[in-house]
């Protein structure tokens, strides 16, 4: 594959480089022939359950060895590479801890394994715990933590050693709205500081609040990558939905249905939704047609500005 053909997401330069990356669990494919360069900044990894998001994260963090292809971080292969491990932080999806440890003991232990002395590790752990707003519970055993607190202590262990690359697998799961807002701001802050952050989630509007750079993954393959607006162009190759609210919706729908680019029409309580293969033409036509037909147009909105629509379009396409 030539250099020019390699997709790139995020800021300039490739922090993470995946080449022909595939992983099979026996006869089941986890990820399938993924080639991509990921630069600094926050990247949202989106996909339905079982799409391969977690497998992708496990492979790029060196927890699983790819069946074929390779992945590097900062130009070095990741598998059993201690140099790279010292520069990454990972928030796993699973709710697993040393339950008897306190939050501070847990984070400081894992920080000591990052090469810090006991004193430094405790100081770094306290800063990280404070960053996730958990200082008042740092000396309580983890088994007494709520789901949201457990999520935050997982994030603290990933932040404590100030990594250059941060991987978060469903980091907002179980967090309350305040905690969620805090974590989202934290992740955005990391991206703005020039770090590389990959956030996996299936909650689309949450990712949308963190970044406009996304990687859509389904059935182990990257369905789309890049900026949300770049992906928007890709959407135009697929049927495009426009919601219309108007007087006499059935009459107006019948007039629209006469055009070749209209793929389908679905009625709802407040109007109808038209799917078109030529969105630009359709957008121009609707107001004109409404005026010519004497139909009052109350509302015309595209679902496509919302990430949900992008997701639905590209995953289901």
């Amino acid at each position: 594959m030539s250099k020019l053909e390699i997709p790139h997401v995020g800021g300039e330069g490739a922090v993470i480089s995946a080449r022909r990356l595939s992983l099979w669990y026996g006869k089941v494919i986890g990820i399938n022939d993924i080639t991509i360069d990921i630069g600094p900044g926050v990247l949202g990894l989106l996909g339905p359950n079982g799409a391969g998001k977690s497998t992708f994260l496990k492979v790029v963090t060196g927890q699983l060895r790819p069946t074929t292809g390779n992945v590097g971080i900062f130009g070095e292969l990741i598998w059993n590479n201690r140099n790279v491990m010292s520069r990454i932080g990972f928030v796993p999806e699973q709710d697993a801890f040393y339950e008897e440890m306190t939050g501070l003991q847990f984070v400081s232990y894992l920080t000591r394994l990052q090469g810090y002395s006991k004193k430094e590790a405790i100081e770094l752990a306290e800063i990280a715990i404070d960053t996730v707003n958990l200082s008042d519970k740092k000396n309580a055993p983890i088994r007494t933590y709520s789901k949201g607190m457990r999520q935050r202590i997982k994030i603290a262990q990933a932040l404590a050693h100030n990594p250059d690359v941060l991987f978060l697998d469903e980091p907002l799961a179980g967090t309350d709205p305040v905690g969620r807002r805090h974590i989202i701001n934290l992740i955005r802050g990391f991206g703005e500081a020039g770090k590389t952050v990959i956030v996996s989630s299936h909650i689309l509007h949450e990712v949308e609040q963190m970044t406009s750079n996304i990687l859509l993954i389904n059935k182990g393959r990257i369905v789309a990558d890049g900026n949300i607006y770049k992906i928007r162009n890709l959407i135009d190759e697929h049927p495009h939905s426009i919601r219309i609210g108007c007087g006499s919706p059935r009459d107006f729908a019948a007039k629209l249905a006469a055009f070749d680019d209209v793929v389908s029409i679905q009625f709802s309580e407040h109007g109808f939704e038209v799917q078109t293969s030529d969105p630009d033409a359709c957008y121009n036509r609707i107001p004109k047609l409404a005026i010519e037909s004497g139909i009052k147009l109350h509302r015309m909105s595209s679902m496509d500005n919302n990430l949900t629509a992008v997701f639905d379009y590209l995953v289901n396409a």
């Binding site: 963090t61 699983l64 010292s86 990972f90 090469g115």
Partner: protein
């Protein structure tokens, strides 16, 4: 983040090994299974206490008999089973392995550190009740000097036996990703069945632990019908055998753990 001024990070093996061992020992000492194991290990002490109170017998003979028939064949492997097999596997089953393998620490150091911690806790878990058993039996002993000498040899042999068993079980855990089953199969096949197969009993850890502890070798089936006595065994031969077996198990376990991927 990282507002504190930190010195250069130390990725040295000794520093990381010390951290893993220290934390793991603390975790094991607080673990419920340690209390359960101690309760089991104390059963012979309670039994001996009852005997000493109500029966008139030679304390040293009773102590030797209990060690030879209960402690070495069962209680030592049990302690190793409690700590050796789960050394790495409990991190897999508890799904906490991810936190460790994503640190700049080699997997071999993790395996060795966890195994050393397991041995460090397993040894006192057996030897403290064993020492109490000895004290109870000492009340009925005629020759205290000889008793103490025998006791020290038993302590040394038992400690080495625990070390060997624990390392083997830890390695089996890494190979089969199973904390108990693989170790039990090993114990039944190698340690129990091999004890009755001609000459093969020489390969069992139990046999060598007994030799190191000062007990004479048992007469196996083959020895009984051929030479009519047990194969001669020196304590140092058993020591070398156990040391080699421990080293091989540690190497195999750390090699497998380093090269395999585990689906956590």
């Amino acid at each position: 983040m990282s507002a504190i001024k930190s010195s250069a990070r130390n990725f040295g093996i000794s520093s990381q090994l010390t951290t893993v061992i220290g934390v793991q020992i603390r975790r094991l000492l607080k673990a419920r299974k340690t209390r359960a194991l101690l309760a089991i290990q104390m059963l012979p002490v309670l039994g001996a206490f009852v005997y000493v109170m109500f029966e008139s017998l030679d304390g040293l003979s009773m102590f030797s008999k209990i060690v030879n028939t209960v402690t070495i064949p069962f209680l030592i492997p049990l302690a190793a089973l409690f700590y050796g097999g789960p050394a790495i596997v409990e991190e897999m089953e508890g799904r906490t392995l991810t936190f460790l393998t994503l640190r700049p620490i080699s997997k071999s150091v993790l395996f060795i550190g966890k195994t050393i911690a397991a041995i460090t806790v397993a040894i006192p878990a057996v030897l403290i009740p064993l020492s109490l058993l000895f004290l109870v039996c000492l009340f009925q002993s005629d020759d205290m000097g000889q008793s103490v000498e025998n006791f020290l040899q038993i302590i040394g042999g038992s400690a080495l036996g625990i070390m060997t068993y624990t390392t083997i079980f830890a390695a089996l855990g890494a190979v089969f990703a199973s904390s108990i089953l693989a170790s039990i199969i090993y114990f039944v096949v190698v340690e129990i069945l091999c004890s009755v197969i001609p000459n093969i009993m020489f390969l069992t850890v139990k046999n060598h632990t007994k030799t190191m502890a000062g007990f004479s070798s048992e007469v196996g089936f083959w020895e009984a019908i051929t030479i009519g006595q047990a194969l001669p065994a020196e304590w140092w031969v058993s020591l070398v055998f156990c040391a080699v077996l421990t080293a091989l198990a540690a190497f195999a376990g750390s090699y497998v753990f380093s090269s395999r991927q585990y689906y956590v």
